[in-house]
Symmetry: D2
């Protein structure tokens, strides 16, 4: 069992604390001869980077990734390509104001992992949340950028579809819009309203939850496996491993509980090209743990961060009762920055299952 | 990567098709000297068995489990105990009316795994769904009964909390009630209403979805691990691997998206015994992937089975358009029988993480 | 970590004790549409079966394998083929004379696992060695027969090349001869001498060690992986997991310690077909953990069984000093029956790495 | 499957090429609250470092390790201790004379992994052997230093017991002597002879093989597991994964093939303290895959490096026949520097199995 690794054949292992000297990731199992530059990874990282609007933490991290191994100049083209060996990634931590966090060395912030890390390990790096900080997700995004290159036929996109109690109007969905607002919101009107709403949340020192939807298009039928390597199972594992996520659903998800068999059935016809065409996608592109060729649709809920200005009751390491409020630089809606992380995790799962599928199918 | 195995240290591997000669499971990693008889396993199996009321499939399976290895008489007490070697479990399939299923050899039932299994493997055992049948979950329940014995200090219970659009009234929750009705419903009033409701669904040849809630009490703080072996991550993986599950949530789950940081924070005080006491449990007993000592609370949504009498559009293996209706014996609400399965999966995850925790902590 | 599973993508999990009701194996990860009948498996099993000559244990086991899942009639050809789901194998134990073994319930046989199993688990199924019995290797042979079908282009053969102090004359090597004598000996002359020699060992109630050589021909270049999934690493793991094996070597093995770089270098030329041709094979077909296209050559040493008639000093469970001699039916040279087991293990490793190679290479 | 990870619970993942900017390792699964400084790791690294005598490569690498994550000041003592999170290690590559290696970009050195890496991946970082360089073993030694701290009750030591055809005299064995000569030789007289012998090998531009013996003392009975997680199986895997290793044996190893059951039996008596005492240790401390409490004794053979001045026949990437000789800085006996690597690998396996044993035993 490995606590800091994810994936079967395309496998990542991360390390690093929020306020240590650096964070890093090893990407193992990437096929060779895939073009890869740090600029391609950086592009995805920049989408996740904090400090880009007033709605995300003002912590300034350049988040410049370095590729330390696993790529080499192609003997013919000179292009940097993967060599099939493990890819070492590293980001220096440049903005480490540890003094901001001194107050929480002894106090457990309610809703954070302070109490449980101490309960388990008898020690924690409290600076900025240490290992439990969302900073680790930078490495997921970096690895996800590599995963995307393994599955160029698949497009993985995500959007914020709910902020606090405010859901988007799905009729307004426009993927182009996602990059036009600081919320990754696909609904222009909702984005405008959210700006006002979240501004208020931020000013009051509060925080709010959110829902992210991730969609993969171009997924061929046949990815996944029966029983305990189901595609949706690995997706659920991937999404639930993201900080602050409390729920995951595929396709219609929890709504299917209220549906009848007639309502939930995705009927099939033969399309003009002789391929199966589904009339609807209640299943979210996965049946029996295996992709159907439809879009894979995943949603996950992120709880509001407990880093708020309102004092809450808590205790100290030594068992004294205290009130805790969190100063410092924090996101009023951590769900926003979870959007590129959700994309990365789905890309990782799909790259992994693509390799697995090749293993099983190559001989036929 | 193993397609038919689940767990890290306490690990199960299952095999068998719905209408093959038998199904089985290997339980690997169970500590030695734990008392274990087949009667104890049978007791849990009997709760899941079909044919117990008019609301579950009329397929009659005795589901008699055999323990074929891994137990031996204790040299002092003579009691049957585990020996630390792999435990082989087997259930003969006794009621195999294959003729009921002949019609689906060529036709893909919408919403079932027929299409995707064929897309992946080029072949499928179509009899009763073959490997994709919920019959495999009998082995999860059997293995879960062994897992329970590894964690005698933890109580894992589950209940059906929503059937179709009808939710229970949580104020009526009574664990005793769960075994008094055919729905594992903890709300006596709801159970009475559901009987009428599901009777109607059954008569119309339709089906309906459901939500199961699983609760583990007595979980010590410290189970789980950071990042990619989070307790909630493994729980999400476990639940999403159950047939027909489309969503999983921990604690307040998707509802946390609409909460503020103030509302979501579980405040902490010191109890009379000097231990931490949480005022609420929005987190569902898990913070940062590690158990807090509170109840672990999990919910999952099960879609309605697509085995319905209403014809739905589909295609055949050879690409012809057809209408498919499913005769044969089926459950109008497959969520009912998922209740003991959910219990078993949570017990498996908790036993697994208990062993892992011992590994990490034993040296201190 | 799984104690009773072997392999990465093509993965086996075994269960069962020597004198329990049955032994079994789950083969997971086998590609679909591969023809498979129990007769094909039985053929390999029959080569390993005890009681075939006076030189192996007189225990009579029919060793009839059953395939309980994972195969189905091909829709076009009707041939039994794999479906891609887990394959459940089972052999009933038919000859369980437990009374033969009652004497060792309390006594630790020197050189056997009695002492260490008790030290680890506090209990052991002492009947016939329980889980530590070589009976488990029947399942390796059965699984190996399936592995062979995944790699039809590779031929895996093995032979006994040393019995006690007596080595074969390599100039006499004849693969045809291997099945003409009860020792799997490729040297007709040596086989004749061994018959006399082993007859004497057997009559004196003694036992003797042996060396097995396994050779795989037709292995394509490129199987294996750098660093910790080296082909030779997995082969060493596979062979050392066989009962009583105390050493493993690849190619020239320990003899390379005495060689100079000049002597050890396998020179390369271009053959008539434009492919690389090696002048020698000191490396045993593996360089840097990856197959070179030459024959993969593996040898392993099997110690003499400690089941002998001469009393040896030992202790009991309760710490008393005793003398132990082993009556009952045993092999004077357990290395003989290890020959088909060695073949099976190499076939398993090569099938596993073939699937892995497809995963990595499929995209190019 | 992970190509660059080793271990089950105590698990390392390495990355980096010989002439890339850095090499690194992630150590996952290390328990918390274990004192750890980079100086402790450096001490072991310095034993392996090249350039320390005229008998090892003159490549000068400072090999200064950095700990980038996973340690933190203990709240009470201020001592740097592990936190239970993944430990990131990094060594900058400071001496990268890539020009030395330009000649081998196109040519395959016989006996090296040049040919097979290209056959598998279609590309390789040829500079200094890239990923197949023994430089990766620096990270094994660093990780091994951490493993030692997990098992302070176990002492792991290694020595060179054969250089080319010259074996030590075991009667002269003196562990103190190991650090008094540049060969890690425990026999003072042999060391003196080897100095002359290896001087000659070096001057002639040749190379020679060797045998390393690794011994672990203080190993408690009970480490290991039946069947496919045998302690000796994992040791064989560990040692065979070291560059240039062609054979591994436990205890008497290949010599047991020539022994009778009477000769091979390690008899047992009760010692003065009431514990089992073995009269001999033919088994090398492992019975049935589980440690017996005796010293664990492992030997492995390292082939001579193919980096020699004598031209050998080979081919180029493009299929032309050429003669290859290797200039540059190389070890005449790579086995010398494998001594601390062997120690590290055995420490890693024993730490891993110690954690596993705690998992299984903690409940009793």
């Amino acid at each position: 069992m490995s606590h800091n690794s994810f994936g079967h054949l395309f496998r990542i292992t991360t390390w690093g604390e929020s306020h240590g000297p650096a964070i890093g990731c090893v990407v193992d199992g990437c096929p060779s001869l895939i073009g890869l530059t740090k600029e391609e990874i950086q592009k995805d990282l920049d989408r996740r980077r904090p400090g880009q609007s007033r709605f995300t933490t003002q912590r300034q991290e350049a988040d410049q990734v370095e590729i330390l191994s696993g790529v080499f100049a192609h003997p013919q083209t000179g292009e940097q390509v993967t060599t099939g060996t493990s890819i070492g990634l590293l980001i220096q931590n440049t903005d480490q104001r540890s003094k901001d966090y001194g107050g929480i060395a002894e106090r457990y912030r309610p809703g954070h992992a302070d109490f449980t890390y101490d309960a388990k390990y008898g020690i924690r790096d409290y600076r900025g949340g240490g290992r439990s900080s969302a900073r680790e997700t930078a490495m997921r995004v970096a690895a996800g950028a590599i995963a995307r290159k393994v599955i160029p036929h698949i497009t993985v996109r995500a959007a914020l579809v709910q902020m606090g109690p405010h859901k988007i109007n799905r009729a307004n969905w426009d993927w182009e819009e996602v990059n036009n607002n600081p919320f990754f919101c696909p609904d222009k009107e909702a984005a405008a309203e959210w700006a006002t709403y979240l501004g208020g949340v931020r000013k009051s020192g509060s925080s709010i939850g959110a829902v992210v939807e991730v969609v993969a298009s171009g997924v061929p039928a046949g990815l996944g496996a029966p029983i305990y390597a189901k595609l949706d199972q690995d997706i659920a594992s991937a999404m639930m491993s993201i900080n602050a996520v409390k729920g995951v659903e595929i396709g219609d998800g929890f709504a299917t509980a209220a549906l009848s068999g007639e309502e939930n059935a995705d009927e099939i016809r033969i399309g003009p090209d002789g391929q199966a065409v589904f009339s609807t996608n209640h299943a979210g592109g996965i049946l029996g743990g295996i992709s159907s060729g439809q879009d894979v649709v995943v949603r996950f809920a992120i709880k509001p961060t407990s880093s708020i200005l309102t004092p809450k009751k808590s205790i100290t390491r030594s068992g004294e009762e205290v009130d805790v409020m969190t100063k410092g630089r924090h996101d009023p809606c951590v769900g926003i920055r979870a959007v590129p992380v959700g994309e990365a995790m789905l890309a990782l799962v799909l790259a992994d299952h693509t390799l697995l599928h090749r293993a099983q199918m190559g001989g036929q």
